[in-house]
Amino acid sequence: MDEITTGHLKRLFETKLNKAMRLYLDTCARCGLCVEACHVYASMPETKYTPVGRAEVIRKLFKRYFKLQGKFAPWLGETISFGDIGMDKAYEAAFSCTGCRRCVGFCPFGIDTQQVMGIAKLLLMGVERQPQLLAMLSDMSIAKGETYVESGENYREAIKNLESQVEALAPTPEGRETIPVDVQDADILYVGLSGAHSIIPAAAIMNAAKENWTLSYFEAVNFAAWLGDAKKQAKISQRIVDEAVRLNVKEVVVVECGTATRVLKFQSGKHDFKVTSIVELIDRYIAEGRIFLKPGTLQGRLTYHDPCQLARNGGVIEEPRRVIGALTGDFVELTPNREENWCCGGGGGLISMGEQEFRMKSAKVKVDQIKAARADIICTACENCHTQLTELNDYYAMGMKVESLTNLVARALTGFAEKN
């Protein structure tokens, strides 16, 4: 690798050296506690799939370029350079990690491999080796933010076509639109995904609760978060933030998408509005008696997969369980569960990138966990997890039903006559 590129990569690396990163890169004792935390390693036991194995790639580059050891005794830490196999290893490390952060809970120091992989992703962008599909999807999201006014009419028309399906689940409150868009001073701005399935059930639930809500023009998903491009990530989030400010909403509610929720809730700065996930909203509606669920709509035993970004990394842990409690009495927990749940294997952009073979093989431990629960239905509250679980169900012929929690709730809505 030529000196100019090396210098460029060093400068990129340096931009990531914040307080946390310096601690992460200096402190690992290679105790091996994190090894068993990773679902990829548990399914495909190779050193390169351990959290420490991944982080060591970056640590070895760090030592090589930023530490005295790299200059005087590189053999001590087995340092590597950008030029030889460094970038290949960085790619393999970064995009075999789903960023689930299960290892953070295993490490005695709480070293965050997802953060360390952020360096790998930035370096890959520095040599144009980022996954092109994720880059393209990120750019498309940004472009949509720039042209949404022009395409607004088409969007409204498309949304109108979904109204009958929403009405079939719950009646529209009097004097309101079934799927309102651009409602000034709405209480809630709901941000869905680019698919009717992410809008219809949520709309029905909010209508059943007689919520003063409005639908966002934008999809919640943030491809740049998986790409590791902080600037683009901020731009994608900003579209929604700007919309929320323009409409003067009190709360932004994010569709079943763990990453989108985490990015908007914790990584997009402080706002005058609150950010919650749809699961938290449903839980609140049930607690306040604003929606009622018909028991017995589910046939068979249900289990729940905690999405990593929503539970361990977002704090939405007990809310889905309370919602499920209102849906069915026939519920069984996965083991482990909550913050210790195994990642489904679809995070970190792997679903968007395809990578089916890797995703299926690396989630073997997830499949074993699900099978052990002996449930008939598995539900989750994240689009990525839902897609991955659906594919796992087919690939491993598990014979289960895979459901989204919002969908289950929407199908069980009842009590409109009493409330109306």
Partner: protein, 245 residues
């Protein structure tokens, strides 16, 4: 008999290790740690919270628990946790035992033949250190280890073993203890009072060579500490705060 050239060289070397190098190594360690802490403090903070959930009501307390109780290890690797706790407690007593050698501190009476722990503290760090070394050769630990991991453990082991030997060696002669706590206190007195006297005048046992080697390896350890993973001594708590706050 007048000292020969080699004996003079050895005496000079021993003196350098036992006095000036002690100051040099402590300075390197303190400055190295200070520079490291300063470089971390001067770096920008992370752009957003890195905490994990469920959130703790008292994050600082939880971080203290993570750091000193290591519950995540106790839960998953109880044997490893047992040795880690044993080792770290041993280190705490080891530091205490060495501090006790300063003439102004007397946890053990000044006239005592023994240091704190009477040799058991040394064993308390040696046994776990052997466990840590053997553990490095097993399973995935072998693949994730780098040469520095082995060398650091070997360095610690040699320091501990030499310390053990000094403790035990004291009782190997027919006359009982050759060097007592009082002798070591005199040496620490020379160091703390900056008299630059030759320690050989107060450490007159036949195993002085082992003491020199023990001190030299300890100096080596102090000098590499700021540049090694041993910095976790200082950074474990702030790291655990990151995931709790």
């Amino acid at each position: 008999m007048a000292p020969t050239g080699f004996t003079l060289f050895l005496d000079g070397l021993y003196y350098f290790i036992m006095v000036p190098l002690v100051y040099i190594s402590i300075t390197v360690m303190v400055v190295g740690i200070a520079v490291k802490i300063a470089s971390i403090l001067s770096s920008p903070p992370p752009a957003y919270s890195l905490k994990t959930f469920p959130a703790r009501k008292r994050p600082a307390l939880a971080a203290l628990g993570d750091t000193f109780g290591m519950s995540m290890i106790r839960k998953r690797k109880p044997v490893f946790w047992f040795f880690l706790m044993w080792f770290h407690l041993g280190i705490a007593f080891l530091i205490l035992g060495h501090l006790d050698l300063f003439p102004s501190i007397n946890i053990m009476p000044a006239a005592s033949r023994h240091m704190v722990g009477a040799g058991f503290v040394g064993v308390s760090v040696t046994v776990p250190a052997f466990y840590f070394l053997f553990r490095r050769f097993v399973g995935e630990n072998r693949h994730i280890s780098v040469p520095a991991d082995y060398l650091l453990l070997l360095l610690l082991l040699f320091i501990f073993l030499l310390g053990d030997m000094i403790s035990w060696g004291n009782s190997w002669t027919a006359h009982g203890f050759v060097m007592t706590k009082a002798n070591f206190s005199s040496y620490f007195g020379i160091l703390s009072s900056f008299t630059f006297m030759n320690p050989r005048t107060v450490l007159y046992g036949s195993h002085y060579h082992f003491i020199v080697l023990h001190v030299f390896l300890a100096e080596l350890f102090m000098m590499i500490l700021p540049f090694s993973k041993i910095v976790h001594t200082f950074f474990s708590l702030p790291l655990n705060m990151l995931r709790r706050r």
